[in-house]
């Protein structure tokens, strides 16, 4: 395992770039439990340009709980490397004291107890305070949004993303890229894009019929006498991971050769710095950085990783800024003579009880919510258990959702998608309608009811497992394992596709799943057009109303090996 000190030395030895992370400073202060806004924002200005990065907020405008993963298994070269380090090992790697605010922000351990002590995180009104403070200190800065912005809440679903668009416009975003945005459908995306005061970048978005670039690939910014190219890279597996029929006009893909061509094009124009605003996912970006030359900074997104220090690949630094508004990255750069000479970086945690909300943004967010306030805040039930989703396997929120699907749709087996978004709830919290939407909200939430053979179910599990555990990052789609209710299985992550899944059992009988036999299966978020059934949030609401108080027992139905 590489310690922080070794990490910095390795970085310096491998490159002419010199750098530092501000993480250690706030870490020590935080350990004294004397957090103030000034300490969170403290930063010794450096160089001549600042990048401000936020990504994957998933429409969370208000502060939320978000438990970081207990399972984030790395395969192949990624094994044991950030972000595939969790819990105590993560704390050790980055010199974080157990029980400190940073342990709470960045790891899962003692989450419920620490949450009570340190409070919710995020909130775009707090983010606005941070962004304004950075801009005041650094007029030569660029605020970039890595996408997954317009989806993930009840208000974003009801306004077709407009609440988030209004908030991000007010925040002063200067460019963005995309993923779940596309699940609003081509027409709505293009309608919003035409209204945006900033570019919607995607060098890898092509016209599906003519195989030609369809969106602005990059924008060149003039700041402080520098010319900075920001290249957008949308989520590559859009038509595979999400419903293709919603945006049939477009094709995506990693398109590594296209990225190299665009980098070469902006370099030929003589820019001083090349930044890639990416929604590839961290491991895909790491591989891309090792194969495409000429990118100085990749602002990563999609896989929701929060890493306290930049990861260096050759001459490229990779920044991972977390999700759900929990963090904002500030990256100060020293750019001279067309070269990035050095960096100073800080992953700023948005402790909502520490950072004063920006009054204008708070008012805007409340105005966006006002028409829906009664619906949002209606209490449906209470939870006695910690409800969370994020992690490679299962999660209590999905156990509850699978229970709801099995009970309300009368099926033997329930499937729930392994998306990485979804806020947590602490034991004792009320469950409001908004909370249910925070883990289910989408434009294709119909709960289907069908029959599948044991063989088909295994094929589904194998297919999804390969999207996570294929040792080549270019074949990873960046989600987590599909969640399953009513059935147990074992997964050996080290095996190839077709051989990872075994020991499938039907929990109600304890008997082995028969490949030839049919089982009733319910699930949601099908990518198939014309899927019929009630919306998942209604199914979950009905289930929770019947229970009143929710209590989830530990779920031992999945056994993971080969780590």
């Amino acid at each position: 395992m590489i310690t922080r000190r070794e990490f910095l030395q390795a970085s310096l030895a491998a490159s002419a770039i010199y750098g530092a992370s501000g993480f250690g400073n706030w870490s020590r202060l935080a350990a004294q439990q004397a957090l103030t806004q000034d300490q969170l924002l403290q930063f010794d200005d450096f160089g001549n340009l600042t990048l401000i990065h936020i990504t994957d907020i998933h429409a969370q405008l208000k502060p939320i709980w978000f438990r970081e993963p207990e399972w984030n298994i790395g395969v192949g070269d990624a094994k044991g490397q950030p972000p595939h380090v969790v819990g105590r090992a993560f704390q050790d790697m980055f010199g974080i004291a157990p029980g400190s605010p940073d342990a709470y922000a960045l790891t899962y351990e003692d989450f419920a107890a620490l949450g009570q002590a340190y409070g919710r995180m995020g909130g775009m009104d707090r983010v606005a305070t941070v962004v304004k403070a950075i801009r005041a200190a650094r007029p030569d800065s660029i605020l970039l949004d890595g996408g997954d912005t317009w989806q993930g809440s009840m208000t974003s679903l009801l306004t077709k993303g407009q609440d988030c668009v209004n908030v991000m416009n007010a925040l002063g975003v200067e460019a963005m890229t995309s993923h779940w945005e596309w699940t609003l459908g081509t027409e709505r995306v293009n309608e919003i894009v035409e209204s945006l005061p900033f570019p919607f970048l995607g060098a890898n978005i092509f016209d599906a019929e003519w195989d030609e670039p369809a969106f602005e690939p990059y924008r060149i910014f003039d700041k402080g006498g520098l010319r900075i190219a920001v290249i957008g890279q949308a989520f590559p597996y859009m038509p595979i991971a999400n419903p293709r029929w919603m945006f049939p006009e477009y094709s995506f893909g990693i398109r590594e050769e296209r990225m190299q061509a665009v980098v070469d094009e902006v370099r030929a124009e003589g820019v001083d710095l090349v930044v890639c605003l990416s929604h590839n996912g961290f491991d895909v970006d790491k591989k891309m950085a090792s194969r495409v030359t000429g990118i100085d900074v990749i602002l990563t997104g999609h896989t929701h990783d929060a890493i306290p220090e930049p990861v260096l690949v050759g001459q490229t630094i990779l920044i991972a800024s977390g999700s759900h508004g929990k963090f904002v990255s500030r990256v100060d750069l020293d750019v001279q003579g067309g070269k990035m000479l050095g960096f100073r970086h800080k992953l700023i945690p948005i402790f909502s009880d520490v950072i004063t909300p920006d009054a204008e943004m708070a008012a805007l967010i409340d105005a966006e919510r006002a028409p829906f306030k009664a619906q949002l805040e209606e209490k449906i039930g209470t939870t006695d258990s910690l409800l969370y989703r994020r992690g490679n396997f299962q999660g209590t929120w999905d156990d509850l959702i699978c229970d709801a699907v099995r009970s309300e749709r009368d099926v033997q087996i329930a499937l729930s998608p392994g998306v990485r978004w979804g806020a947590s709830l602490l034991p004792g919290d009320a469950i409001t309608r908004e909370d249910i939407h925070n883990v289910t909200s989408m434009t294709y939430g119909q709960v289907y009811r069908t029959e599948m053979t044991g063989e088909t179910i295994k094929t589904v599990l194998e297919d999804v497992a390969d999207n996570i555990f294929n040792p080549d990052p270019y074949y990873q789609q960046g989600g987590d394992m599909v969640r399953i209710g009513g059935m147990g299985f074992a997964c050996d992550v080290s095996k190839p596709i077709g051989n990872r899944i075994s020991d499938m059992v039907l929990l109600e009988t304890g008997g082995a799943i028969d490949p030839a036999k049919s089982y009733t299966v319910g699930g949601w978020a099908s990518v198939n057009e014309g899927t019929e059934g009630p919306q998942i949030w209604d199914v979950v609401e009905a289930h929770i109303r019947k229970l009143g108080t929710v209590r989830l027992e530990p779920n031992p139905s999945v056994t993971v090996t080969g780590i």
Binding site: E212, F235, D466, V482, A525
Partner: protein
């Protein structure tokens, strides 16, 4: 550069003849097709670029392109299809560029193989795995 489909079609009219491999198309294996195309020559790996998506967005129509400067013929095979033979493109002396782009159907996850025959009879080869997946659950 980006060679668009429109331009590729123009090139096609200019100098590329599309041949359907008569006599070999009845489920000839990759080995048989290779032997017939190479005449037994061992293929090299430089001087040929095969571009495919890593994961097919739609297995029924997967865009693939092959660039092999100086080639007189390019053969494309889908190793996991019931009929691996896809197409052979031949280039006459007037061809401005030895490049071919098309869309192919892939029955399942498999390697797509491209071979090019140079004017001196030497062979170069490139291959790439294209995953055909059932999709969903990305997030």
């Amino acid at each position: 550069m980006t060679l668009t489909r429109r331009k590729a079609l123009t090139l096609g009219l200019g100098g590329i003849a599309f041949a359907a491999i008569p006599g070999l198309s009845t489920a000839a294996t990759v080995e048989e097709l290779t032997a017939a195309f190479t005449g037994g020559a061992a293929p090299g790996t430089s001087g040929i670029t095969l571009t495919t998506p890593e994961i097919a967005e739609n297995g029924n129509t997967v865009p693939v392109s092959v660039d092999a400067p100086g080639a007189v013929a390019i053969m494309l095979m889908a190793s996991g299809n019931p009929e691996p033979a896809v197409a052979t493109f031949t280039f006459g002396p007037a061809a401005g560029r030895q490049f071919a782009a098309t869309r192919i159907r892939l029955a399942k996850t498999q390697d797509v193989i491209a071979m090019a025959k140079m004017a001196d009879g030497s062979i170069v080869q490139a291959q790439a795995t294209v995953k055909v997946t059932i999709g969903g659950c990305g997030g």
